[in-house]
Amino acid sequence: MTDSVSAKPDDSALVRVRGLTTVLNGKKVFDALDVAIPRGKITAIMGPSGTGKTTLLKHITGQMRGDAGEVWVDGQNVQTISREKLFELRERIGYLFQNSALLTDFDVFENVAFPLRQHTDLPEVLIRNIVLTKLQAVGLRGAAGLMPSELSGGMARRVALARAIVFDPMLILYDEPFVGLDPIALNQVLKLIRTLNQTLGITSVLVAHELEAIKQVADHIYLIANGKVVAQGDPNTIAGDGSPWTRQFFGGEADGPVPFQYPAGDYAASLGFPRSNP
């Protein structure tokens, strides 16, 4: 797959974020953020809750635009690209939503067939073959006739994955793919992510908190906090880089650079006590 991507062959990164700055509701979500996602690899993006990991994915897919900086995906800057070009690009990007986002009006088969029906005029036989192949890949060919409401969380996520890969994308973005899954379903999804990356060479970006799971699949980890990359490296070495961020995050400490207390005024003053003399 990677060889078909030729817009900027010299660039080893499929996605390159340069100096991205975004202000949302007066709060700086990203402050000159730099991220590079290498081709054909699985990259994990981690960080404390509320640091804008999902927001970063939305920037990569052009759902949101930053206030400054560039987001290059396969040689195109999605921050300035036209809507038509963006839609063309998106056809080559799979996106796995946190809550699967299956269309509740359609059954499993139609959900997976949806992108095909919207973008192609393939004959019904061909659509059927493609859809069943993808469903077989995620192990849910037998569930083709079920409605989304009849699926468990893990099954829904696998159907959504089948839908995301129906066009054989160059890039898949996983938004919290492990949330709310039991250990069996979690491992099934984990196995799928790895298989898709290894057999099809699909570049994968993973936003997740599950450290153990990520260690099994990720080639590279970015740790984002306060709108910046605070640490990066491969899963085995990143935890030991010694910075207070990694120590707190990977060690799971309650207090540290990410404070336990939400910023507030003087505690004693807000309780109405007279100000204590310093």
């Binding site: 059954d107 088969f109 139609e110 019904e124």
Partner: protein
């Protein structure tokens, strides 16, 4: 895929049903339902006054709809309205001496053209003209005729005048009918108060046709119905001499005021002067 046919059929049914309803509303419940469907031919009629007649008003024979008014035009320089009637082909046997009249359905209804067949053997051709027409009756004229005001015109043919004196004429006015046996035979010509005798002197113009009225007949001012207009009724007497122009009717009965009538009724019906309804009922028994 599996659901597609079911809702497609349902949607189709819904759309068909909706349009069927529209077609039903538009054709069956509106004036479109009245438009003639068969071929028609055109007949012209000239009316001195079309009143409230409108295009597409019905044309009726014996009360049955046979066509409709196609156009109403007034040619410059002419005083009659040119009305074209579209008549259904199957009612094509209209004698050429038929009379076209503008009627009103009911007192307040829409106007229509009624055709009364004549006796001619010749049938009116397409584009022919109905020579005999009667214009729309204006409500005012009709009321006038009904109440006798129009009678004055008839009297021009010949009438004679008779005087009558009443102590009270109520609301009797000039033009009110003079009736004998309920049939109008003339009208009130003048009403004036006599400054000396302190009563009302009424001059009645009676049609010459009715010259055989005994001179001892009585005249009375009556009211038609409870709230109708007043008229003069002649009650013939038994004298061999007949009334002549300028005579005076000696026996008269003045108008009954409705207040008097009610007063009389109450007094005779009930001993108590308060006269409430229960007492009145009780008095009848």
């Amino acid at each position: 895929m599996s659901q597609r046919p079911s809702y497609a059929v349902g949607t189709g049914l819904f759309i068909v049903l909706g349009f069927a309803a529209l077609g039903y509303l538009a054709t069956q419940t509106t004036s479109v339902a009245n438009t003639s469907r068969g071929p028609s031919y055109t007949v012209e009629a000239h009316f001195a006054n079309i009143g409230q007649l409108k295009e597409r008003a019905p044309v009726k024979v014996a009360g049955v709809r046979v066509g409709q008014v196609r156009s109403i035009t007034l040619e410059p320089g002419k005083e009659t309205a040119d009305v074209k009637l579209a008549i259904d082909q199957r009612y094509g046997q209209i004698p050429d001496d038929s009379v076209a009249t503008i009627f009103t359905s009911g007192l307040l209804g829409d106007q229509y053209v009624g055709i009364q067949y004549g006796s001619s053997k010749k049938v009116l051709a397409d584009g022919g003209t109905l020579a005999l027409t009667r214009p729309a009756q204006q409500l005012e004229e009709m009321l006038g005729k009904f109440f006798g005001a129009g009678g004055a015109a008839d009297n021009l043919a010949g009438s004679y005048r008779v005087k009558a004196r009443f102590s009270n004429i109520g609301a009797l006015s000039v033009g009110a009918p003079v009736k004998m046996a309920g049939v109008a035979i003339g009208s009130v010509q003048t009403v004036k108060a006599d400054p000396v005798k302190l009563d009302a002197e009424v001059t009645l113009a009676i049609d010459k046709k009715y010259s055989q009225i005994p001179d001892d007949s009585a005249a009375a001012v009556f009211t038609s119905g409870l709230i109708g207009t007043q008229y003069v009724a002649i009650q013939p007497g038994g004298s061999p001499d007949m009334l002549k122009d300028g005579d005076e009717l000696v026996l008269t009965q003045s108008a009954m005021q409705i207040e008097d009538l009610i007063g009389k009724f109450l007094v005779s019906g009930s001993s108590s002067s308060s006269g409430d309804k229960k007492d009145a009922d009780g008095g009848k028994h």
